[in-house]
């Protein structure tokens, strides 16, 4: 029985990969797009509103004071800016971190799993002084908040 199940999975897998292979050869998909469900479009989008839409499907977000952004007022090193986001919005499922002044505004998207609290923390790069924008998805709505961070040495290099 066990072998049968494995065989099925194997067959299913190889069928799927040959379809993918065909798609690559046909030039329909670039190998990079196949790596994961990583949302390449949203991570390449230069426009903040479009990037948020690409990630959450939502066109407009409401500003909310229930989102708390912890980030330094002045970042001496733009290469490492600690940012933590906490949301008091009920039903939070996704937390996005953006820096609109960066070459690529979308920095990270955290999708909360079962039992996860509405909190995420990471270190981000900031090219120059600007806002850190947090976007919270709850249900089919999105909410935003922002905090200004002054960067003395940019972290996007060049």
């Amino acid at each position: 029985m066990q072998t049968n199940i494995k065989r099925r999975i194997f067959l299913k897998g190889s069928a799927a990969s040959s379809v993918m292979g065909a798609a690559i050869t046909a030039g329909l998909l670039t190998p990079q797009a196949l790596l994961a469900e990583w949302n390449e479009a949203a991570f390449k989008e230069k426009d903040v509103v479009a990037a948020i839409k690409g990630m959450t499907g939502s066109e407009s977000s409401e500003e909310s004071d229930k989102i708390h952004i912890k980030a330094p007022d002045i970042a001496e090193n733009g290469g490492v800016v600690p940012v933590s986001i906490t949301s008091d919005i009920e039903g939070t499922t996704q937390i996005l971190i953006l820096a609109p002044n960066n070459p690529v505004p979308m920095i990270a998207a955290f999708t909360l799993g079962e039992g996860a609290l509405a909190f995420a923390r990471t270190n981000i790069k900031m090219g120059k002084t600007g806002d850190v924008v947090a976007v919270i998805k709850a249900g089919d709505k999105t909410y935003t908040a922002k905090k200004a961070v002054k960067v003395t040495i940019g972290g996007c290099g060049g």
Partner: protein
């Protein structure tokens, strides 16, 4: 086993597990240029980080080159107990990946 690129710490306090991870990775955004040659340094960054516990995905994060070098990721969840195994894995834009298993303290 080779040492993992991930340092994973999980600690339970008042029913909430706080997970902290530090991953060794260059996180090149692709926007930087080599100062000597002037050539663009190709993008090389982690795209996905997944943390699992008790057969459930507790967090999945998509990252870009805008996350700092040697990224730090922290989050919290309910439903874990001291001694439980917890795993984290990442993959990057070049198809490389790594994983680690730790125990909740």
């Amino acid at each position: 086993m080779a040492k993992s690129s991930i340092k994973l710490r999980a600690k339970v306090k008042d029913d909430v597990v706080e997970v902290k991870a530090l991953i060794k990775h260059p996180m090149e955004s692709g926007n930087r240029k080599d100062k000597k040659t002037g050539e663009a340094i190709p993008a090389h960054f982690i795209t996905e980080v997944v943390c699992e516990h008790g057969g459930k995905t507790r967090l999945s994060a998509s990252l870009s080159g805008g996350v700092s070098k040697n990224p730090y990721v922290s989050f919290k969840f309910k439903g874990g107990a001291s001694g439980d195994p917890i795993t984290m894995n990442w993959k990057d834009n070049k198809g490389k990946s790594d994983s680690v298993e730790s125990k909740i303290k």
